[in-house]
């Protein structure tokens, strides 16, 4: 995201955005470290998905849905369930949509969001085991972009966490080799809730939660997943070929740490309302 668009943006825009950043301002009037308004609609797919959320981050919006299936565990991790997160730039979100296999940008979106959830071990996969070596829960969290106005990664990460947090599913047990429902409803064992934060480097400036126009002119971005203990659980420099100094990376980490608690709190509040 950002790189292909760099082709179409005019030099005037590029200069304009750089200019106002030099004056300490952003295209939409925000502070450098300020997130856009964040809205979370809980459970829009309540009838079919075990968990779901629509996230609106400024003009960007995504929907995440969670399906809880059962299946056999992988042979090398017989007592662990499976968690998989995918993210897709749905046609409706993209004027540049072409009917073809996923582009590099789309692959990166999917893998960065998936890694943010899996590397931070947000879900305790050991608690997803029904019977070791035989049956485990398999959690699929799929995300579709609905509107694309910059910073898809953060919006998708927030949506994934919200949908997982709101997920409820019937407990199952093995009886005579067959799965039967116990009648109890379970919540997902979320132990760590790491949220991804993206900081964009434009010239000598760093801004958090980049707007689409900022992404179009950025040198690169740094996406960081931060868990509830302020540990960094995943990081990815991407979105362009600009290099970044250690000092800038350290500053970006500082900016991300500042906003993480508030966003995590907002997710918890929004999904609590849903019950």
């Amino acid at each position: 995201m950002g790189d292909f668009s760099a082709e179409v943006i005019s030099h005037i825009d590029r200069n304009y955005i750089a200019d106002i950043l030099s004056k300490g301002e952003r295209v939409d009037g925000r502070q450098f470290g300020e997130y856009r308004p964040l809205e979370i609609e809980p459970s829009p797919v309540a009838a079919k998905a075990e968990g779901s959320a629509i996230v609106r981050l400024g003009g960007t919006s995504v929907v995440a849905g969670v399906k809880v299936l059962t299946g056999e565990p992988y042979p090398d991790t017989p007592d662990e369930g499976v968690v998989m997160v995918t993210a897709e730039l749905a046609p409706i979100a993209s004027p540049l949509f072409e009917l073809g296999p996923p582009k590099e940008d789309a692959i990166e979106l999917a893998r960065v969001v998936d890694r943010g959830v899996r590397e931070s071990e947000s879900v305790d996969v050991h608690k997803l085991c029904i019977e070791p070596g035989k049956k485990v829960y398999m959690i699929f969290c799929d995300i579709y972009t609905l509107e694309y106005d910059g910073n898809l990664i953060d919006a998708s990460s927030i949506a994934a966490n919200a949908a997982l947090l709101g997920t409820k599913y019937p407990e199952q047990k093995l009886e005579d080799g067959k799965l039967v429902e116990t009648g109890k409803m379970l919540e997902l064992p979320l132990k760590n809730m790491a949220i991804e934060h993206t900081v964009s480097k434009i010239g000598s400036h760093l801004v958090i939660d980049p707007h689409l126009k900022e992404e179009m002119v950025q040198d690169c971005r740094l996406t960081m997943a931060i868990d509830q203990n302020d540990n960094f659980t995943a990081m990815q420099k991407g979105g362009g070929k600009g290099p970044m100094s250690l000092e800038m990376i350290d500053n970006a980490m500082g900016m991300a740490l500042e906003s993480t608690k508030e966003i995590r709190e907002l997710i918890r509040e929004s999904m609590k309302d849903a019950e």
Binding site: V45, A47, K48, A49
Partner: protein, 271 residues
Amino acid sequence: MSPEQKPDSLMTAEGLRFDGRRPDEMRPIQMEVGVLKTADGSASIRQGKTYILAAVYGPRELHPRHLTLNDRAYLRVVYRMATFSVPDRKRPAPSRREREISMVIANALQPALFLEEFPKAVVDVFIQVIQADGGTRCAAINAASLALADAGIPMKSLVPSVAVGKAEGTLIVDLGDEEDKYGQGDVPMAILPNTNELTLLQQDGSFTREELVEAIEMGVNACRYLHELQKDALKRAYSKRATEEDDDEEDEEYDDDLETDLGEADIMEDE
């Protein structure tokens, strides 16, 4: 989700349906126009628990070029279901069924459009099913034709669409998931409201010729009702935008342009 239970009976002793509706009663419907800022035109529909978004891009240049038509714009419809929109997780890759429904929707919409005004161009209609609870292809047509109007594509009229089915011998309108799955048949259709001609007609299950004629008549009536809802949705969007424009202190001249933008001029004239 745990597998859906087959209801004991789809019809009550009083002649009402499983969910309390009368045979000719539709589910609660909400349509909204202009819901996606990225698109040139967009609309959402909630029909019972079915929830669908439609976006329109274009008319614009077509790639790849070998699909170009010399006498009109190419109408490209892509219908996609979210993996989580159905009871079992759908595979992420587009299925044959999704591609067939895309084609069927394109055929249903095309007779209403003046595509010959844009030779060599493409008009893209992208449809995303967020939650599927029966009647998705019909709901998608309802939303897509609103999105086309919102994008200012010249149209003869909006295209309303509904499915009529049969449960325990009774013809019923606007099937829910259970009625679709455990009923005796399904007849999705779409019409041009100015002539009542059908632009979509499919059928499965088992019907006599007489039942089919009656089913189509019921469907056409339901479509006429849906068409009123569609026009209301378009007017709401229109006046909302007009108000917003007023708030921005634009002068009144703007309204005319807006009307054109919405493609309403054509629509209103036709009826």
